[in-house]
């Protein structure tokens, strides 16, 4: 009895101090001191607050009450963490320990840690769009195909705007402006087109015939947009100009292989002339040349060499060249 009163006094003292660490140490030393007593007094965390309320059993989870055609946007109207009892999917996540299976969704911290997009289902997006419609104007009726858009609005400008919760509105990544235009929609002749492609270099994509100008040197988006438009204007006008030094363009600068005047043409003419001279009497040079070039075998040979040089090498182009040479040399 003395022990119990002593216990009550000590515990009361402990409650008054409200220091958990010292309380535990004190309790430990207290338990050591009264280890011989028959009544082991369990530590009472609740103190004087009263007896513990019985733990309420969790009822059936919400998933069992969900109809199939429910409105999901009501379950997840905003971004919320993963609630296993509210999501009717048998999702598993985690490492399968000892060749087992990934752990269940109930009490799964991994599923709670990761971001989820359950608030952005197509139904939710539809609702957002419907809400945003009041702030939008209608799409022009005449622009119903991509080609028409391309025809009327050949220059496409892409910018990014960033929204974030923070103290400042500014985002330096928002200054980048990308301008895309197809060269076929610009008024360029052959020389201007080739010069334009040489001037822009890497910014031109041959497959899609698109010129892409990306500007980010100025601090503001408007400034970068003006700069991009200025660059486009300057490129256009410069490519139409013909400079004096452009007359010095060599075969190595040419974009495509041209058979006229190439070493291949020279070689074949020389070979054929020599073969002719060996067989018959010598004829007038230029006449023989024209006549040789006009022959269908030479035309075929020309096509095969042009294909080899322009398209690159492959088995089929090599075989075509082989057939052309065999016909030409009458093998």
């Amino acid at each position: 009895m003395a022990a119990s009163t002593m216990c009550a006094v000590v515990v009361a003292a402990l409650n008054r101090t409200h220091a958990r660490g010292s309380a535990v140490a004190g309790l430990q030393s207290f338990v050591r001191r009264v280890a011989y007593s028959t009544v082991v007094n369990r530590s009472n965390e609740r103190g004087n607050r009263g007896p513990r309320r019985p733990r309420r059993e969790a009822g059936p989870s919400r998933t069992e009450k969900m109809p199939v055609d429910q409105d999901w946007t009501a379950v997840y109207p905003t971004a919320a963490p993963f609630k296993p009892s509210a999501i009717p999917l048998p999702v598993r996540m985690g490492y399968p320990v000892k060749r087992g299976v990934p752990p269940d969704k109930r009490g799964n911290l991994e599923l709670i840690k990761i971001p989820n997009f359950l608030h952005l289902t197509p139904a939710a997006i539809k609702k957002h769009c419907e809400a945003l419609k009041d702030f939008c104007t209608e799409w022009p009726a005449g622009l119903d195909t991509d080609d028409k858009c391309e025809q009327h609005f050949p220059v496409q400008v892409e910018t990014k705007a960033f929204v974030s919760a923070g103290t400042s509105l500014r985002n330096p990544d928002a200054r980048v402006v990308t301008l895309k235009v197809k060269l076929s929609s610009l008024n360029l002749d052959e020389h201007a087109r080739k010069k334009m492609i040489k001037l822009v270099g890497e910014r031109y994509c041959k497959e899609t015939d698109t010129l892409t100008i990306t500007t980010d040197s100025c601090p503001l988006e408007k400034q970068n947009y003006d700069y991009a438009m200025y660059l486009l204007t300057v490129l256009y006008h410069e490519s139409w100009k013909v400079e004096a030094w452009e007359a010095e363009k060599t075969r190595a600068d040419m974009e495509e292989y041209d058979w006229e005047g190439s070493t291949s043409q020279k070689n074949i003419l020389e070979t054929l002339l020599r073969m002719r001279v060996a067989g018959e009497a010598e004829e007038d040079g230029s006449v023989a040349r024209k006549e040789l070039l006009g022959r269908p075998e030479v035309q075929e040979y020309r096509d095969s060499v042009t294909r080899l040089k322009n398209e690159g090498e492959s088995e089929s182009s090599m075989l075509q060249y082989r057939e052309a040479v065999k016909k030409l040399l009458s093998l």
Binding site: R274, A278, E313, S314, E315, R322, L328, L331
Partner: protein, 404 residues
């Protein structure tokens, strides 16, 4: 495992075999061989069959021309057998029909590594040699552009470099192949090598070659002079000239040689390469230029490239143009059967399952079949527990399908 009897296909072939060989009890074994040793008489009916090179021909025609693995095989089997394949037959048929008063034609053998370009080239050269042509064989042009210990500045031209060792070695082998021609052909002008040494006009070429072999310092210039003489005189009709270059892409590639000041040597500055390039022009007549590409020894090229333009480059293609490209492909089923039966006949492969091993690891490429046969042999020894050398064969092959 069922052995597919591919060779009992055409009755014509069996008839031809019956005519050539005397009645043999185990006839199916000799179907992969033909006794026709004259390449001039080879035709489609001998396709995928092995013919034997006589030892004298092996010594004289190919002192340096055969690929090293084939030379090992010749030593192992005590005979040199070459398979008759379509690319070589094609070139031989063109050579038979060509007009030799017209400029020389270029033939270029190309194909993947190990598919048989060098062996086809050797077959064609054997034909040329048996027909009495003068064979100018440069076995591997890559050897002239790399690993050259001695690089002397040329005495005749200040900007060029000589390779005495390579030139004199080549001249020695050239002498072995064409000894009988060297006494008949005469020089057309006087060559001055040093203050005391000169070769007069009208001397036999044998003297020129002797000069190059004995005086190693001027051997590169001797090679140049020799090539010039042959070029000039081939057109006169006394003899026909076959210029064969293996690894011709070396002539227009890059070198790994360096001058004394560690700057790179350009290909034009090498005397041997300069003269070889002049030879490969088709401004002479009375012969043919048969070449083969080779990626294996080439410098600064990707291992997977094998097409002509990739290996020759723009410059090489323009110089060789117009040429007849002859593709060499992997073994067909029939050719593979032949090869396998030949190896079995020579007791090289003994285990019945070695055939699948060869097929699986090689995928039909001729060079890899040979290497895979080593695998097949070792495998046999390993599985039967016989004490033999350890099996340490690393075979790294890309899966390539049979050509049907």
């Amino acid at each position: 495992m069922q052995v597919r009897s591919v060779h009992s296909g055409s009755g014509l072939q069996l008839q031809a075999v019956a005519m050539e060989t005397e009645p043999h009890p185990a006839k199916n074994l000799s179907v992969f061989r033909t006794t026709e040793a004259d390449p001039a008489r080879h035709s489609e009916q001998h396709a995928a069959q092995y013919y034997t090179l006589s030892p004298t021909h092996l010594r004289t025609v190919f002192p340096h021309g055969l690929p090293p693995r084939f030379q090992m095989q010749v030593k192992t089997f005590n005979e040199g057998c070459v398979m008759v394949r379509p690319p070589a037959l094609e070139i031989i048929s063109h050579l038979k029909k060509a007009d030799y008063s017209k400029p020389a034609l270029h033939y270029l053998l190309y194909g993947a590594t190990g598919c048989g370009k060098t062996m086809s080239l050797c077959h064609v050269l054997h034909y040329c040699s048996t027909q009495g042509w003068l064979v100018l064989h440069i076995p591997d042009a890559h050897l002239w552009v790399k690993n050259c210990k001695e690089l002397l500045p040329s005495s005749s031209r200040p900007s060029r470099f000589d390779q005495p060792v390579q030139a004199s070695q080549w001249l020695q082998n050239f002498k072995v192949t064409n000894d009988h021609f060297l006494s008949k052909i005469k020089t057309t002008r006087r060559y001055v090598w040093t203050k005391r040494e000169r070769t007069e006009e009208g001397r036999p070429l044998a003297e020129l070659v002797e000069q190059g072999v004995n005086r190693v310092k001027s051997s590169s210039d001797v090679v140049g002079a020799l090539l010039r003489e042959l070029r000039l005189q081939a057109g006169q009709g006394d003899f026909r000239l076959a210029v064969a270059v293996d690894g011709v892409n070396a002539a227009w590639g890059k070198t790994s040689l360096k001058k004394e000041d560690k700057s790179a040597v350009l290909l034009e500055e090498l005397t041997l390469i300069h003269n070889m390039r002049k030879m490969l022009n088709n401004d002479w007549c009375g012969g043919a230029i048969i070449t083969a590409l080779s990626q294996t020894g080439s410098l600064y090229t990707s291992r997977l490239s094998y097409l002509p333009q990739e290996l020759l480059g723009q410059e090489g293609f323009d110089k060789m143009d117009p040429f007849v490209p002859v593709p060499v492909s992997n073994y067909t089923e029939k050719e593979f059967e032949s090869c396998y039966l030949y190896y079995m006949d020579r007791n090289w492969l003994q285990h019945p399952n070695s055939k699948c091993e060869c097929v699986n690891t090689s995928g039909g490429n001729a060079g890899w079949v040979e290497i895979a046969s080593h695998v097949g042999r070792c495998w046999y020894h390993v599985t039967t527990g016989r004490r033999n050398a350890e099996v340490r064969v690393m075979v790294n092959v890309a899966p390539v399908n049979f050509v049907v």
